[in-house]
């Protein structure tokens, strides 16, 4: 089974954590991304995630392999939700086990940062006001409306951190 996966049902971190257990590991670090009720000052009612899964799994696997090679951790995994999510639900889980805590923290941070930048997953926010928008796409789609047209880069990552 791939260590980078998608799911349409709620994520259960306890079960995932057990898969990383290893007698040689003294440290485990995990990151959970939750659905927040606001974004850039707007009240969010619910979220919708969509992924280009064939490529996303390949790119996600590459990120996990990079984290293992770079930080020398023992195991790394990531599960991302797709579909409709309510406030407080778990959108993404990253788990890493390693001989020592330092590498586990670094690898966990690396994986979530890279996933947000590189993996073809999209998020649509539905606001309390009734309208909705694709994060990172809508404002950029109308650069003329902005006073200063920032140069668009290929990566094009705004900061939309959890």
């Amino acid at each position: 089974m791939s260590a980078f996966r998608f799911t349409r049902t709620p994520i259960e971190p306890q079960a995932l954590r057990a898969q990383l257990a290893d007698p040689s590991c003294g440290g485990y670090a995990a990151f959970e991304g939750w659905v927040r009720d606001s974004h850039e000052g707007r009240r969010v009612r619910r979220l919708e995630y969509e992924a280009f899964e064939a490529l996303a799994v390949r790119e996600g696997e590459r990120i996990l392999a990079e984290a293992i090679a770079r930080f020398g951790v023992a195991h790394a995994a990531c599960l991302h939700r797709v579909g409709d999510l309510g406030i407080g639900e778990l959108a993404v889980w990253v788990g890493v086990s390693a001989p020592h805590r330092h590498e586990a923290f670094l690898a966990c941070r690396y994986i979530i940062d890279e996933v947000k930048q590189r993996v073809p997953i999209w998020k649509k926010e539905h606001y309390l006001s009734g309208d909705s928008g694709w994060v990172n796409c809508e404002r950029c789609a109308a650069p003329a409306a902005e006073a200063s047209a920032a140069p668009a880069s290929v990566q094009h990552a705004h900061e939309h951190g959890h």
Binding site: F52, L55, V92, V119, W134, G161
Partner: protein, 291 residues
């Protein structure tokens, strides 16, 4: 696979093929045998595939130190015995190994070489002459590196090299060579420099653009909503994803400029200038927002 021999050639010596990949690619600065053009495969692989249809056996000619290189290692090899005498070393080594055969010799730097040019050479082959070759559309001299050398060429060729000469063009000009006119005057343009590479590649992209390709396009997120569909099958002459996106943007109210998108072909990230092939599946990737 060997083609059906013409009846006139029933008693002709067997035809083997040799792709010359022993060059040093000095002017190109990169190995010409492993360069890929708009047709996708490394040039050596493409030349071997073109050749294989017409000959009983096909070999790649290499210098000893090149034999482990990954693309060359895929094919049966004949290693040069003499160094620093240019392409003629490859032919001499092949003739030494199989003196009974005629050799269809191809350079590996002919990206515009087409099936029609090879087929015409094969049909016109004159086994009773020393060689069959094309007359260059540029200078009227024989083109030595897309030519058939009959077994009878072996002794004069060895003597020619023994006399300190190494120009295969002059050898053919002085031998009993049947010279043909090229059906496609650019087919034998060889590519030695990055500039020539760019020009040959542009020609191939233009040619592929003439033919409509069957493509599938999948849409995600904002593009899915603006296209009003998840995917579609279409025919397009777009040579690369760049023109394909422009074509689709004229049909759908896409608000995202191409500079904000990435592109994937067959479920792998690709460059905007990747040549599109029949059957490709293309996805334009809006700015991502996972996590």
């Amino acid at each position: 696979m060997a083609g059906t021999p013409d009846r006139a050639h029933a008693s002709a010596p067997p035809l083997y093929g040799l792709v010359l990949a022993g060059g040093r690619s000095t002017r190109m600065g990169r190995d010409k045998a492993t360069l890929s053009y708009a047709h996708g495969a490394p040039q050596l692989e493409r030349a071997m595939a073109l050749l294989a249809r017409h000959v009983q056996r096909a070999y790649v000619s290499v210098r000893a130190e090149q034999s482990a290189e990954a693309v060359r290692a895929r094919f049966p090899q004949i290693v040069d015995a003499l160094d620093d005498i240019g392409p003629i070393a490859g032919l001499l080594a092949a003739q030494a190994q199989h003196p009974e055969a005629a050799w269809l010799v191809l350079a590996c730097d002919l990206p515009l070489l087409d099936e029609a040019t090879l087929a015409h050479l094969l049909r016109a082959r004159a086994p009773e002459r020393t060689a069959t070759a094309y007359r260059s559309s540029h200078d009227g001299l024989p083109e030595p590196l897309c030519a058939i050398y009959e077994p009878r060429s072996r002794e004069p060729l060895s003597a020619y090299v023994a006399a300190g000469k190494q120009c295969p063009r002059k050898f053919l000009a002085g031998a009993d060579t049947l010279l043909l006119d090229e059906p496609n005057p650019r087919a034998l343009d060889n590519v030695n420099t990055p500039t020539e590479y760019g020009s040959a590649n542009d020609t191939l992209i233009r040619e592929s653009a003439v033919q409509a390709k069957h493509l599938t396009v999948q849409y995600y997120a904002l593009l899915r909503e603006q296209a009003g569909r998840r995917q579609e099958a279409l025919q397009s002459c777009a040579p690369t994803p760049r023109e394909l996106y422009a074509e689709l943007a004229a049909r759908y109210p896409f608000s995202l400029a191409p500079e904000m998108l990435r592109v994937a072909v067959n479920a792998e990230f690709a460059d905007w200038s990747t040549p599109l092939k029949d059957g490709d599946a293309v996805v334009f990737i809006p700015p991502v927002a996972g996590g």
